[in-house]
Amino acid sequence: MNIEIRGISKRFGPVQANQDIDLDIRAGEVLGLLGENGAGKSTLMNVLSGLYRPDSGDIIIDGTAVSFDGPGDSIAAGIGMVHQHFMLVPVFSVVENVILGVEPTGAADYLDLDAARAQVQQINDSYGMEVPSDALIEDLPVGIQQRVEILKVLFRSADVLILDEPTAVLTPQEVEAFFGIVRALRDAGKAIVFITHKLHEILEIADRVSVLRQGRIVGNGVPSEFSEADLAEMMVGRPVSFSVGREAATPGQPVLELADVSLLDAGLEARLQSISMTVRAGEIVGVAGVQGNGQTELVEAITGLASVNAGRVTFNGIDITATSVRQRHRMGIAHIPEDRLKSGMVAGFTVAENMVLNRYYDERVARGVVIDWSRAEEQAAAACLKFDVRTPSVFLGAGSLSGGNQQKMVVARELERDVRLVVASQPTRGVDVGSIEFIHQQLMACRDAGNAVLIISSELDEILDLSDRIYVMFEGRVTAEFDNQDSCADRNAIGLAMAGVNRTEAA
């Protein structure tokens, strides 16, 4: 099945999400769709999967123009979408999830699970997916859950598969296995659209590539004709430097020490198990791991948002295990939260109001119980300038800034003071390349000024680029520690540790 997209445009209010887009999706081919966050990739794919109606333009399937009124039409036409956030019912089995909505039934509406199981098994075998069909989704690792999503699409006999940022949640080894499945699908004649912002994935898996920037197609071609730098320049619109230019670290005294820290959740499940780690002055320590392996809880334990059930947290030699969040903050611990919209900022506040959230009570802006707004606004304006927050005014609602500017605003608030330790969780998630560079430079500057920096990220490249030392977390434990002074830690070994394969390398 071939799809031609011709002249698709889609506008949301003032934002032109897609403009005059032409794209060819061909059977037996992997089309890589490359673009930054907010470039319009998701909009385009939602048009194709029937969620949005385009303002203008045509979708032509095998020579016939079609129009979709909803996801149902698109599924019926043979287009299957694998969402970035899985659409699986955790307490259902694999088979139940796969058949949901198109269930084979017998008399009296009886669910024919045996027939379904056989069918699922057959698809399973033909692409080497190895998914246990009776396991519950919640018991399966993320990589397998993703295969269930693909099974779902194939069970509905889709000929075109749209994969939205499919590798974001996978370890490097899982990515390899996943690419194997993608190739098997391609060789079976399926058309595949692979959406990503990771350049090396495009070079590895795509047969053709189209690059989106600001809602337009800015480049088409065969990946082998491009280098990573070419693709990056197309994606961003200007030359991009890849490495941060890191000089050797000169670590000093330990600033943060965790000794056998354990944390239980409300259901008494262990989220952190005997974590011990050290972050010294003048070094950046990275925590790698697939999302949901205790990183969130680790940050909460360090910043005081959660109280630990066992173990000790020490800051500059002082036991802070029982110290309040504000005390820790005032001692010089800065926290860049993993989800800025949830816990980093108030979208309904102005930039200036967001900037006083960590200082409204102290001498910098408060006069007794009253906030001195003119001073607060002055400080906010200065911080915006220093941290490259591009906003026409500090009175603008923070929610209307771009993701990159929001993140820089959070970074500005946290770092624009005397800090000793920076805990940065997913510091560049959903942020444009320019802001990523800037934030990375700021974190490096913090290190070079003799502060301790802890970076928690599920982007392994970010960890490898910035860190002097790397811890790997898996299921609430530190499974390995790597030295990365010269940025040459073994990617493969880190990947294995992320998957829980126990192989500790001496630091």
Binding site: M87, V89, P90, V102, T105, L111, L264, A270
Partner: protein, 417 residues
Amino acid sequence: MNSQTTAAAPRAIDWRASITGGALILLALVIAFLLDSPWDSVSTFKISRPRDVWVVGHLTLPSQWFTTIAAVVLAFLGTRLFLKGGGRWTTLSLAVALVILAMAFLVWATAGKSISLTGMLQATVVRAVPIALAALGGILCERVGVINIAIEGMLLAGAFAGALFGSLMGGWAGIICAMLIGGVFGLLLAVLVITYRVDQIIAGVVINLFVLGLTSYVSSQVFAEFRWLNKATPFRAFKIPVLGDIPLVGPVLFNQNLFVYGALILVTLSTYYLFHTRFGLRARAVGEHPRAADTLGIDVIKTRYAHVIAAGMVAGFGGAWFTLGSVGRFDENMTFGRGFIGLAAMIFGRWHPLGALAAALIFGFADSLQQKLSILNTPIPSEFLSMAPYIATIVVVAGLVGQARPPAAIGKPYVKD
């Protein structure tokens, strides 16, 4: 990396099991020291009744021996929970302990006397019916992600409609109208919480208060004057041939009225529906992950509407039990919180119709126990005895805190973006 001794992972303290265990030990002490009877006294339980086809002898138990053994078993269960934690056995231990406790009470109260075991179990089943039906209504709602606090009001509306239309048009019409009225309140709840996204708890409470006020007003103002409006003929028990003659089981299960059979059939049907049919699977998906269901072309809104209305009809049928299944007359607030007890049974039964039925039977037993105990002239004041079903509810719900897992999407309105 580090050669120090690795600290043992902290043992998760299972507070729930500890507390439950402690409570059981306490109950064991109560049985051991308060439920005293002479060592030679005997409790007699009659099984066969005068006109039975097959006659079985009486069951006699040495009273003091029985209570002592019950105390020991309870203490054992309690200690085990307290020391080792219960894990998935906590619920089962609790259920077993409750049954033993009830039996010990019964044996103690009957010491030196005799009681009809068959009659008591028969009453247990009868009294479990409205609770089971309320629980079933709750399950149908919550499985699609809607909390139904309004079950109590729906029961009451069903009881009212059953009495009124039963008096006017006869029993069958009464049942049908009770179900229709229940369905109307289901529709009202659905409109409020699904379409207008009113907080589900608040909407439920509002419906409860509305039904209570309305029925109380009508019964005190209208029924008091026109008595013939509140004088329905209740459904009588009918014996199923052969099966009804089996000793003990026959009278308990096969010689009952329409509501008992109806409840058993509904529980069976809904178990089949929820877990073995296509639409049951879709319904559960809607309650667990509505967005996933939506992306697969399942209409979340329609599914929720259908189930909430069906739940209202089941509750209406359960409500009719209060009037058409027993006395034929409506009294102010005659459901006495049975709807809420039903919701407790739903939780205890883990949102499964069969589990809810089992839980309803425990509550029904507590209910019929208090009735029998007050007849047997025990030294416990009858006010305390009538608290039994509610105490059982509190114990059960408290013992389950944090353990039972409701459908994931419960209480959240579905917003398509």
